[in-house]
């Protein structure tokens, strides 16, 4: 579905690998003018948290994706022409809640994107979405230690971005309930409204009436 008058930079789908040996997962997209820009933007948008060890970006024009319903309505998608070669295959397999779209499951040799999609459907008939793109379209981060360190370590070291960093704050509500001290009523203090001067509830006992 193209509106046709988007003069912005091309869109790139972003695939992130969380740890060595884990599948690359489609996490979303970025707009960028060139491949390096796409990778850098992908890092800033999708790697603000641990963890990642590698990123791929693929220009939207190089992706072919379809759902079963889509193929039923438009079977000609399976004839989409393009270059022959190695194609990566991504699948969506579940309706469960997730933060990623498809997982990349492997690669195959195909005569073109339509053929790659056809083969993917034959191999994985139960998938809810198939996605294919040629190996030649992949832009990837380097996997040398220097790149890994400078691109992905900072997100890992900034633990204050994790909610666990804050632990339990104040009295845990479960604890208050067990102790029968869960506040049940509004403080009997006069209400504040626009008043700037007030006496703080802490200054009076009991703090919270039950």
């Amino acid at each position: 579905m193209m509106a046709g008058h988007d003069t912005q930079w091309p869109r790139w789908e972003v695939f992130k690998q969380d740890a060595p040996g884990r599948p690359y997962q489609a996490v979303g997209s970025v707009h960028a003018g060139d491949p390096d820009h796409a990778l850098l933007t992908a890092r800033n948008v999708f790697v603000r948290r641990p963890s990642a060890v590698s990123l791929w970006t693929v220009r939207e024009a190089d992706l072919l994706t379809a759902t079963p319903q889509e193929l039923e309505a438009q079977p000609e998608v399976l004839d989409t022409p393009g270059e022959a070669g190695t194609y990566h295959v991504g699948l969506k397999r579940t309706h469960r809640r997730s933060m990623t779209f498809v997982d990349l499951v492997g690669a195959l040799e195909a005569k073109g994107p339509g053929d790659a999609l056809r083969q993917a459907r034959e191999q994985y008939p139960d998938a809810l979405t198939w996605l294919v793109f040629p190996e030649s379209a992949v832009v990837r981060t380097d996997d040398d230690p220097g790149t890994l360190e400078s691109w992905f370590a900072p997100a890992k070291d900034k633990t204050y971005k994790q909610q666990q960093y804050y632990g339990v704050i104040g009295k845990h509500m479960g604890e208050l309930k067990r102790e029968g001290r869960m506040p049940q009523r509004v403080n009997e203090e006069p209400h504040i409204g626009d008043q700037k001067v007030y006496s703080h509830p802490h200054d009076k006992a009991p703090k919270v009436q039950r």
Binding site: G28, V30, R48, A66, I169, G170, H191, K207
Partner: protein, 320 residues
């Protein structure tokens, strides 16, 4: 299918029934799937407004980065504002899968055509506001977003799952800050209380009009876009936050606030005139927020031109 206006010309009741059955089975609708035009329209409206809110939401807090009291608080605030920028990106992406372009959406925001959450048109006057925004505004947002993470449209749901996992940090850092100040010096307590006085009502309002005044709710619930109504989400928010605010010794600026026989905290009347005035930009900082966005957009023009020139040159070299 009692709402005929939901069936657009060219659509059939059978298509709608099949679509409704998919929703009922808990299936996620993906970009290539058939969907009612009205479903698409409602989603584009909601998701783009949500994206704009994230982008404008950087402004009230970003203003405090240079004035953060410690390095620790400053790094936390920078990370939080970066997150809001990222959340805007996730959401624009989700809206793009429905056929809206990034350019159209940004134009709508900068021209003032598009709406965004009323909450960001309130000023952040003191440092405690940064904490109160985290605790109350992000707390309210998480209630809404946790609900939306279960919505029927795949890309929106996924963006929400990702956002919720990050947003929990925003909520916690704000709560930690306010709890510390509420137990601090008299000046700090005063500052925390003052922030609560100003943010309590806007936080309740940001969850949207009462169900009776929310014309889109019926369709949105039927299609599994919203799994709860505005009033239900608001009640959840109040039930969680009232006891916590009272526990730290703050007074909630609502003389009518009370618990009903079911244990639900019931708020007093909300000033909806204020809400609509702020949404429409007749009250609050609408003009300043848009001005700041426009200025940033204009000042980034040379960067966009440079990137475009570089891409064109690379393309030219590739052609040689």
């Amino acid at each position: 299918m009692t709402q005929p206006q939901m069936i657009h010309p060219g659509e059939t009741p059978e298509q709608h029934a099949a679509f409704q059955a998919r929703i009922a089975r808990g299936e996620k609708i993906e970009p290539g799937d058939w969907m009612p035009a009205e479903y698409r329209r409602q989603l584009i409206r909601m998701i783009s407004q949500h994206a704009h809110s994230e982008v404008v939401g950087m402004l009230p807090e970003g203003a405090w980065i240079t004035r953060a009291p410690t390095l620790k608080r400053k790094t936390i605030l920078i990370a939080k504002v970066q997150d809001e920028a990222g959340h805007g990106q996730y959401l624009y992406h989700a809206a793009e899968t429905l056929g809206a372009t990034r350019e159209e959406m940004l134009d709508a925001l900068l021209s003032g055509k598009a709406k965004y959450s009323s909450i960001f048109n309130y000023p952040s006057l003191t440092w405690a506001d940064v904490g109160m925004i985290g605790w109350l505004v992000d707390g309210a947002a998480i209630k809404n977003q946790t609900m939306l993470a279960g919505c029927s449209y795949g890309p929106y749901s996924r963006a929400m799952v990702r956002i919720c996992s990050e947003e929990t940090f925003h909520h916690k850092q704000g709560k930690e800050m306010i709890v510390a100040y509420a137990q601090g010096t008299p000046e700090q307590r005063q500052m925390a209380q003052d922030a609560l006085n100003r943010w309590w009502w806007p936080a309740l309002m940001m969850l949207g009009p009462h169900d009776a005044d929310s014309p889109n709710t019926g369709a949105l619930v039927q299609w599994g876009i919203k799994l709860k109504t505005n009033d239900e989400v608001r009640q959840e928010f109040i039930n969680e936050h009232v006891p916590e605010l009272l526990e730290v010794g703050l007074a909630i600026p609502d003389p009518d606030l009370h618990q009903d026989e079911h244990g639900n905290w019931k708020h007093g009347p909300i000033n909806w005139d204020e809400f609509w005035a702020v949404v429409k930009g007749e009250q609050g900082l609408h003009r300043e927020r848009l001005g700041a966005r426009r200025k940033a957009h204009e000042e980034g023009a040379w960067v966009r031109e440079a990137v475009q020139a570089y891409a064109a040159r690379q393309l030219g070299q590739a052609a040689d």
